[in-house]
């Protein structure tokens, strides 16, 4: 069982997509904290593929957005958890490497290990109690945060929590080299199957009557015992056993708790980045909305290009377009500098953010859920310098071929000026067959192109857009 605030998305984002739409630069301008930014990028690269999961994540972001104290207090607790984990891992590492007091006797080493295990478990139990109290204070509405509260309550308010806390406290305070009493159990082959440390307070000796008695101060005469004089080697193997077994079971519990909260730190980094991003959009004064994921419709009203917003540009043109469900794709034409690439970028950036549960800078947005997103951009200026073992056209064909092989049905492929390095007629025809192939496979495409023949071939089939002089997309009949 684990406390999941951040589900892992099953979607895929093709290589170089972030750099092609400058999303890495955009994020670095909006989110100053490197760890948060890096975590956000990681999450964006595996988008969610279920509308329910997206809605759930949107609700968590809304919770943190409306309760900043909840995010900061949970983040502080998460840092405490990291510190407990680091200390525990450090001890285990140094123990494995033999650098923990190499001259220590096996009994002392086992006692020390038991002490570390009990301290760690005790701290973890306090951590869970604090998580419970923090969540109870803010009363979040989202299902994942409520589930986290419910899990913390089951532990911190459960029967046995106080007793467990008390035992860990007692064991962590136990003085080294104290007398040891253990119950030895032999297995069917006469080997020591277990050696359990007995609690002195609850031992009752044979013939000692109903009163609880400890015999450490002076062993009673009437107990039928046989003297035990172990060799050093035997003492070294038997005496540490109860402590090792205690450590093991406490470590198992600690591992369970660490496991439950293993994703907490990363999740909180992501949500902190999300809150930073929303704060940025509010500072820019744009509309902010959580897109809907219903049916196959792709439509936006008043969508701003996040990259331009992040760059500080003032005259950012909002985009509005609608592609009804069932349309196989969209082709965007227009003169040089008319904003074709900006439109692709704003749409794709908004979609990637939205499918990861984040709001977008728009009045309204509706998107399909895509299984994967791939891009193929003409890259005459930059990437063609590296590893150029084929002609430019050939490289584009090769990349597109790989994308088509890989893309599952329900994917999105965004093409920007693809095949512009060949004749328009040949390029258009080649691309038309490829786009038809995508359509048959249920892969949605958006292509920005100069190739008018291609637009003509797709007319009536795909959504045809032309960028006007105000750099807005206009639907062509």
């Amino acid at each position: 069982m684990s406390v999941t605030l951040l589900k892992t998305g099953a979607g895929e984002v093709g290589d170089r997509t972030f750099s092609r739409i400058s999303l890495d630069i955009t994020l670095s301008l909006i989110i100053k904290d490197g760890a948060r930014r890096s975590c956000l990028k990681e999450v964006l690269s595996a988008p969610l593929t279920s509308p329910d999961d997206i809605a759930e994540r949107q609700a968590v972001i809304a919770d943190f957005d409306s309760h900043p104290g909840l995010l900061s207090e949970l983040s502080a607790l998460s840092e405490q958890l990291d510190a407990i984990r680091s200390a525990w891992n450090e001890y285990r590492r140094s123990k494995l490497s033999g650098s923990v007091s190499p001259k220590m006797s096996p009994l002392r080493a086992a006692e020390e290990q038991c002490s570390v295990s009990s301290v760690t478990l005790g701290k973890l139990l306090f951590f869970v109690r604090d998580v419970k109290e923090t969540l109870e204070k803010y009363r979040p509405a989202s299902a994942p945060l409520r589930a986290m509260l419910s899990d913390a309550r089951a532990v911190a308010s459960g029967d046995g929590f106080d007793a467990l806390l008390a035992v860990t406290g007692e064991l962590s305070r136990r003085a080294p080299a104290s007398p040891v009493d253990m119950r030895i159990t032999l297995d069917a082959l006469g080997r020591v199957a277990s050696a359990e440390l007995l609690d002195h307070k609850y031992m009752k000796l044979p013939g000692s009557g109903p009163a609880r008695r400890s015999f450490f101060k002076k062993p009673p005469e009437d107990v039928p015992g046989a003297p035990l004089i172990p060799s050093r080697e035997e003492a070294d193997s038997l005496l540490p056993l109860p402590f090792s077994e205690l450590s093991r079971v406490m470590d198992d519990i600690s591992k369970e708790l660490f496991g439950r909260y293993s994703g907490l730190g990363r999740a909180l980094l992501f949500y902190s980045a999300a809150v930073d991003y929303i704060a940025f959009l509010r500072r820019r004064g744009t509309d902010v909305c959580y897109p809907a994921f219903t049916g196959g419709e792709l439509s936006v009203r008043g969508l701003y290009d996040a990259a331009l917003l992040a760059s500080g540009a003032e005259d950012v043109v909002p985009h509005t377009l609608a592609s009804p469900g069932g349309t196989p794709g969209a082709v965007v034409c227009g003169a040089n500098g008319s904003g074709k690439t900006t439109l692709l970028r704003s749409l794709l950036t908004a979609h990637l953010l939205a499918q990861s549960g984040l709001p977008v800078p728009a009045k309204e947005a509706r998107f399909p859920v895509f299984a994967a997103v791939y891009t193929q951009f003409a890259e005459s200026e930059r990437e063609f310098a590296e590893g150029n073992d084929a002609g430019r056209f050939e490289q584009e064909v090769r990349e597109l071929s790989r994308i088509i092989d890989r893309a599952p049905p329900g994917s999105l492929i965004v093409l920007n000026e693809t095949f512009q390095s060949t004749s328009y007629d040949e390029g258009s025809e080649g691309l038309y067959h490829i786009l038809c192939c995508l359509e048959r496979r249920g892969i949605f495409y958006i292509i920005a192109t100069h190739m008018e023949p291609l637009r003509d071939m797709l007319r009536g089939r795909a959504l045809c857009l032309r960028m006007n002089e105000r750099r807005e997309p206009v639907r062509e009949e």
């Binding site: 040891v180 009493d181 030895i184 032999l186 082959l189 006469g190 007995l198 009752k204 004089i229 369970e256």
Partner: protein, 482 residues
Amino acid sequence: MPAPTLLRTDRGRSIPYHVIEDLQLHRIFSDDTAHMLAHPCSADVILLRRDLFSLLSDPDVRERFSAFRRALSELSRINAMYKKAPESTSKYFILASLEAKYAAAVRMIPRLGGCTLTDELADYWEDGARAVGAIEDALRRAEPHLTAMSRATASFHEKSFIMPDVEGEAYIETIEKCASALGLLPEGARSHAHREALPLGAAADAPFRELFAEPLGALRLILPPYGSLELHELLSLATEVSFCLEICEFTDKMTARGLPLCCPRVSSERRYIARGACDFTLTYKNIVNIVPNDIEFEPPDTFFFLLGANGGGKTTYLRGVGANLLLFLSGAPICAADAEIYPFSSVLTHFPADERVSDVGRLDDERRRADAMLAAACPDSFLIFNETFSGTDDKYGCELTLATARALTEHGAFGIYVTHFHELLSHGEFAFLEAVVDAENGNARTYKIVRQNARRGSYAADILKKYGLDRASLERRYKNCP
């Protein structure tokens, strides 16, 4: 009366282990089973084993064999522990466990099945089973003493001592109880389940013996002595039981893959006929479509050269012939639709020398091994050659190949020889098999092996097409786009 083996394995009759390796059987079967395949059976044992394998098709019988194998394995482990253990408290526990496992294993024998081989075994162990009653009775009487000795409390203070178990709660019990209630540990999880049990050392053993002198004395009198158990005879059955089960698992796997299986008729005449035989070793490589082929070795055609296209299935055919023959000789079903086979006394193989470690040149090594094979060959032998002498020039290689084939036929042995020396076709004294290609379909491989004269050429260029690297394949890639 000596104890019978389950499968009447004749250890004196064996074929070299490299034959198993050449035929890739060591990749399909465990080491023990692969070694069992190296002991070919006579006709009567083949038939007896077949009855047993038939019996094992019943899931209940197979489960009893599986349980017996597990029991023998556990018995073997505890026996090794007993032999190593010094005289101590633990040794009594081990002896009691050993005797319990021994009794349980012997009790299983009469229930193994109802065929000649299992009945022979049951008859022998019937006496043992009677003795087992006494062992079981002794174990019942020993039980309270063992229980009394299995728990104690050890106190380590200024003076350390061991005493009988005292009442009291262990910390670990408290922790586990609380953690389980909170859902932080699986119910009943015990920490010591993760570690090896610790031997009771000599020093701890001494107070145990002092404290439990009485129950130990009783155990000394109650438990039957180790020497009274027929452990060696019982444990020697393990390899054969495993062999039976592995053959069953193998036939299940082949059936699941849709390969044909049959129990060949045992021929009294020297012949090897099989319809729709498959090289089942290809399953190791997860190949799905295994093409069946016929096998026909019958006088006067007791020897064939096999020629044809590269990658056309020559070696596969060769392996199918040899691997199925070895299965037959072990009494197991073979991968074919129908077959009739003579129980050859030996199977010998000669595979390319470059896969072996050799201190001489490759050709010399190949000649030496071929000579040794021919020296060992007799009319009841089946010899398999794969690209032998391919490492020299065509003329000399062809001469050596012809000389080998002639020597083999002079011995009266059966054999098959894969080669690419097409010049052999001009020698009319031998029969030929050919790996067929589909000339109308760009020389696509059919993996069918038929008897006819092979055509020249190894079609190396076709291999390129197979990987889609020729022009036509590349153009076809998007042909379905409108």
